[in-house]
Structures are given as structure tokens and as C-alpha cells.
Symmetry: D2
Subunit: 159 residues, 4 copies
Amino acid sequence: MLLVLTTGGTIDKVYFDASSEYEIGEPTVPTVFREAGVTLEWRLEPLLRKDSLEMTDADRAEIRRACAEAAEERILITHGTDTMSLTAEALAGLPNKTIMLTGALAPARFRVTDAIFNLGLALGAVQSLPPGVYLAMNGTIFPAGKVRKNREAGRFEAV
Amino acid sequence: MLLVLTTGGTIDKVYFDASSEYEIGEPTVPTVFREAGVTLEWRLEPLLRKDSLEMTDADRAEIRRACAEAAEERILITHGTDTMSLTAEALAGLPNKTIMLTGALAPARFRVTDAIFNLGLALGAVQSLPPGVYLAMNGTIFPAGKVRKNREAGRFEAV
Amino acid sequence: MLLVLTTGGTIDKVYFDASSEYEIGEPTVPTVFREAGVTLEWRLEPLLRKDSLEMTDADRAEIRRACAEAAEERILITHGTDTMSLTAEALAGLPNKTIMLTGALAPARFRVTDAIFNLGLALGAVQSLPPGVYLAMNGTIFPAGKVRKNREAGRFEAV
Amino acid sequence: MLLVLTTGGTIDKVYFDASSEYEIGEPTVPTVFREAGVTLEWRLEPLLRKDSLEMTDADRAEIRRACAEAAEERILITHGTDTMSLTAEALAGLPNKTIMLTGALAPARFRVTDAIFNLGLALGAVQSLPPGVYLAMNGTIFPAGKVRKNREAGRFEAV
């Protein structure tokens, strides 16, 4: 079984006309999984709705705790891209857990987006890799601690 | 590096108004990879444009040959879903190759489709698994020989 | 109030994986109108599900009868594009009726399509024009009898 | 011939990951018209990129001047929805001009949006109506001065 933790980020952003604001809305993972015909057993635990630039150490501790306490050994985390690699590093050392972080540079609700593909990318990898922490972005699976987001270029790169 | 072989199937179907016909068109993988910001190095080899119900042993031999002769150790194959498991079984025993077959129940050109997600699913898994042949459908990675398509239910299941 | 008559055509085509066939499905107008926030009062009367190349005189007589018997003075008809102009000509001479035919070269269910735009085009025009019969295609409102589909070029032209 | 003036609004909003900001981007009308196969002759004049809550009298005077000076008699204006009716009222009394304002509650770049439909709605009506100023929203053509946006309900209503 798979646990999906949602923490916010661009992937779940939606436009609210009433406020003329662009905010993080309901997790889009359930809709994406349904439209993709995912039959794997999985559970959703919505934790946060934060832009990752606003994540705090307390937030990261909460995410770590949710991973540690989960019965599941496979965990997919959706997260804003700006500090995804920091959160990944904060999740090191949890035994028997394959943890995969992903997110998107464009919201899942957009017509042209990387969100759908990235969720598939993350799901394919999280069920295939041994325990550890990884990022799934730009079609690539990166081990945590060896990747950073190149903000100018708008992509993730190995370091 | 990754080799992508395209063989047809619903994933690449497109509607041609001039003929009032719904046929297999240009491979959609390049567009999907581009929109998803895939930075992994990869190469496209379009082999066939067939409905998988029309695949022959000669076709499967051609696919096997393309896998064997490729320099790449990671190979992603897009294929019609109806006989995907048969083709997977025909690719057994190629040393040092991680081969991932995927396809879709709805064309990539549809607004609601599993195609985009499945391509991500396959890409995440093909770079994560040891040599062997696998199918990526319905959010699940199946080893070849242990899966069949349940046509009534419209999904793949382990056997 | 507006009456919407659906008769088939590419606009409503959907892919059925179980049959590997591409067929005319449920009318897409209700979904399109809902997503567009249409608040105008309207009623749906699904008449046929035909490729317009297969329309007969009896079919056209049925469409004419539905228009004549409707209480509504504004009627929007979705129709296959191949013989849309023939059906339009068969609807001439119904007093106090503004009748607008439209359809699409790509299904409404496609990610890239003219279907959504054409339904808006037709709706904007049908509430704005005096009685008569018209076609709404390629961003243009054509009076019936003065338009034909250029099949090679895939567009409608005034004649 | 048709003149299209763009002034901003939600319809053209796009997400810029680099700034984590949701801003007004390039006008989407050209892409929408192209995908819809619009063959009508038309010209684009991008005037502003403003949220309509930030429109000033000077902005409205500029829009009016552009309408007055244009050779075209048919003018389609894309505009934010919040003060669309105010701008419409500021355009009254220009002889021989059929002016149609439209916009959207969701960006054209969204997968589910009213933008595409509304552009079709506006185009169908602007070529069908006599000189005057109108709004095209929620599937309805409203004469200027007789409509307001109900912000709580998120729709336009006749007054």
C-alpha cells in the first residue's frame, strides 16, 4: 500500500475569481489518480497547504513524523518545488521507507502542465526503489542530498 | 540514456476529419516529454503504427531485435494495450536491458486521458528497476509474464 | 429560451477502448455549457447519433419537424460537418425561428479542439440574429445556402 | 474585418514559477483563434495587461480612443470581469461600431475554463449585432448599461 502526503505547492494551485487570488486548493492527486485508472491501493493524508518558500522546520518535522508513524513503507509526497530538496534532506534515515517527493512547475489544473506526468513518474519510481529518499522531477529520479532546483533555468539538476 | 520505441496503439490515435477516421498518428511521446520538462537524455525510434490486435510474430521479432541491438540499457516501449503482455513475454531474456512497456486506454490527445500519467509512470520505473521486462499500466508496475489485460473491466491485473 | 438539438457528428465522438472503436457518444453540449457557466435557459433534445455522411432525407425531415414543433424561437443544432450545409438548406422557410447549425472538426473530448469555441460561437450568434438558418464554423456565421465545406482544406467557405 | 483589443484580466493569467506569481501574460486570443480554425480576417492590438480592479479613467479613455480610431466596425475586447461593465459604459456613443466585451472567470490556459467558449460567444455575437456596446459572459449577450457582475455568485446578471 501507498501513502500520499500532500503539503501544498504549485501543483495544487487554483484560481479563485472571487478573491482575484491564486491559492493552493484541494489536493489534485485523487483526481489525477482516478483519471489515470490507478488501481494500486493508496491512502491520502493532506498535511499542509503551503508554498514551499514558507515551509518551516516545524513543518518539516511534521512531515517527517507522518512518514515515521505511517504503516506504509512506500510514501509519495507532493510539495512545492522551491524547497523540495531541503525537505527531502530532512527525511533522511527513516528505516524501511521508500519516500518519493514530487511537485510541479505548473498547476495540475492547467491545460499544459508537468503535474500529471510527475505524479506518474513519482508513482512508478516509489514502487520500484529500495528504501531511501528521492525526488522525481524533470523526468528524472534524484537521490535526496544530490539535487537542487536551478531556479533561473526552472529545472532540477544533480549536484 | 533511454531509448523510446513506439509501436502504435490507442495512445497515439488521432482523428483525421478528412477521412472521418480515427487512426494512429505521429508518436506523442516527444510532445509529452517536452511539456513535462523531461531533461533525461533519450532517443526516439518509431518502429510501427499498429493496433496491437494486429501485431504479428514478425512484428514482435522486430521489436525484440531493436531492443537487442540498442546501445541503451533502459528501453521504454509504447504499445497498444490489447496484446501488450504478449509482446512483453516475447522480450524475455535480453541481458542487461530494463524494458518497460506502457500504453493508454485513451489517446494522449484527449483532454481526459491516462496517457500522460502512464508515460511518467513508465519513465519513473524504467530508470529504477534492475534488468527485466515490465508493464506500467493502471498506476502499477507488473513483471512480464505475470499480468494480463482484463478487457471487460478495462484494466490490467496480476495473474 | 433556447432549444439544443443534437444529431451526432465528430463533435460528440468518443473512443471506446473495449471495442477499439471510435463512436458517437453522449452529447457533450451539457458539459460544455456547464463548464462555461452558461446561465441562459435552455433545453436539450437528443435526436440522432449519426455521422453526417449517413444522414438521410428522413433524418433531415425529422430535424425539420423538431424545429417546427418546438415552442422555442432560438434553436442550436449540433451536426456532423460533412453535410451540415445540406441539412441547413432543408430547414429553410420555418417562420419565427433563428436556427444555428454548428459542429466540430475535432471531438469536444480532445485537448485541442474547435468544439468548445464553436458552441460558444453558435450560441452568441443564435441569440443575436433575426429568423433564418445559419452555420457557425471557422469563427464565421454563414447564411444557409451560401456556404459549403471545403473538404480538402478542412474548412467552411462562403459560395 | 475584426479588431481584437486585449486589456488583461483573468483570461490571460499565467503562472510564473520563477516568481511564484500568477500574472497576466501574452494574449491568448491568437492561440484560441488558431486552434478553433478561425478564418475571419482579424487584427490584434494589445493595449494593456491589467487586472480590471486596477483600471483607471485614463485606461478607459485609451480603450475608447482605440475603438474610435480603428478602421474596423467590429471590435472584440478582452477584459477583466470585475469592472467590465464599467468599461462598457465608457464606450457608449461611438457611431458605426459594434463593440463586444468578454473575459473569463478562469484563465484560458486552464484545462477547465470558460475562456475558450466566451471568445467564441463574443465572436459569434459581434459579427451578428448592430452597432452598440455589449458584454458576452455566461452564455449570454447583455447590452451595456443593463448588466452587472454578481461577485458573490460569480456570474453576470441583467439589471
